[in-house]
Symmetry: C2
Subunit: 226 residues, 2 copies
């Protein structure tokens, strides 16, 4: 990959806004480049050097399996997001992995060590990164709170609204989201059973809150979704 392209990938990420164009052009820390199709597993912790990943195209999920074989989806990563060992801590081996949810996944990666070296030189970047990671954590933490307190219906509503706002096409109070998740996927995200998801979508449809099919989800009125 030529350095001009690398430049643009990073330039478009707000994390690197603290660097001016000159600095950015000199970086070119992207070292890896990978494509994946739906269902492919991407291991985040290769035996060699730890990396940070950057999703250029498509959607992936970060998941893990506990000792009981329970699979949970921790995050949905979207175009432009960073993922991997964001905490910069490589001591504890996590059992997390990433899986492509769409067919056109493109991932860039750079070495954690390169990134750390970069931050040493640019304190602004370090600060900016810290805030960035902090925000991400906050978001996850709020998701967890939701899981614990609300019932399945509220959780699904919260998830759909969030999804619609983050990725959907909004027209007034109507939102249309491209649905690249199966009901099983959604069940794993909001920690309920597949059957409950089916039931809830049918309920929502009956109540006139949304239209659901395998291709897209149309929320008819965001205000009424609660």
């Amino acid at each position: 990959m030529d350095s001009e392209v690398k430049y643009w990938y990073l330039r478009n990420h707000k994390l690197f806004w603290v660097l001016n164009n000159m600095q950015l052009k000199q970086l070119c820390i992207i070292t890896g480049f990978k494509k994946a199709k739906k269902g492919d597993i991407i291991y985040l912790f290769p035996s060699d050097a730890p990396k940070i990943y950057f999703l250029k195209k498509g959607n992936i999920k970060i998941a893990s399996i506990d000792e009981d074989g329970h699979e949970i989806t921790k995050e949905i990563i979207q175009k432009g997001d960073l993922f991997g060992e964001l905490s910069l801590d490589t001591s504890i081996k996590s059992n997390e992995y990433a899986q492509a949810l769409t067919n056109d996944v493109t991932i860039c990666s750079f070495l954690l060590s390169d990134f750390e070296a970069l931050m040493e030189k640019h304190p602004g970047l370090a600060l900016s990164y810290t805030k960035f990671v902090g925000l991400r954590f906050k978001r996850m933490s709020s998701n967890y709170s939701n899981l614990i307190f609300k019932d399945a219906r509220s959780r699904l509503i919260y998830f759909i609204k969030d999804w619609a706002i983050r990725e959907g096409v909004i027209e007034g109070e109507k939102a249309t989201v491209m649905n690249y998740l199966t009901q099983q996927d959604i069940a794993q995200i909001i920690c309920t059973s597949r059957q409950t998801i089916t039931q809830l979508f049918n309920d929502f449809e009956e109540e006139g809150l949304l239209h659901y099919n395998r291709k897209e989800i149309i929320v008819l009125d965001l205000r009424k979704m609660k």
Copy 2:
């Protein structure tokens, strides 16, 4: 508070190990100092400048209340821990607050802005801080996973073992923890009802796993606690 004392508080926190003694002595960023007794509420988000807190003595909990009046305890903070707006993000107002669990709570605080300025000057500190926050979050995340997947009994066992290991006096496989939490407190931590906690402690006692009273909890065999 004289600068010699401030120096020691920070010196003992591993976050500041990346700074050498000279740098540290020049800092003296601690600006606040507060004492609290059992039950006192400490508001984390004063109307003036955002702060980061450092628990010098005692135990506190970080909790929040959702719109349904549900109270959850998010973390138990122990001597030496940092708390407050660790994500450095002050844009969203959180509804979190801290409450003293013991009678001899001492809290130091410093201004977020001072800390940020410090990180600008010392990229190593920023890096170290990011790792620190990452670790904290990882811990929280594992707690949440536990809440979501395991039943109340497993959650309580996990909590007690963790508590014993973090704070208890361990002799071989026996562990003794000073019990500064009410059953209500524990219920809020592992997200169950007070009655369930009572029942479980009685079960554990019957099964010969531990001795419980209001002053201390003695785990008879850590290996058998599972």
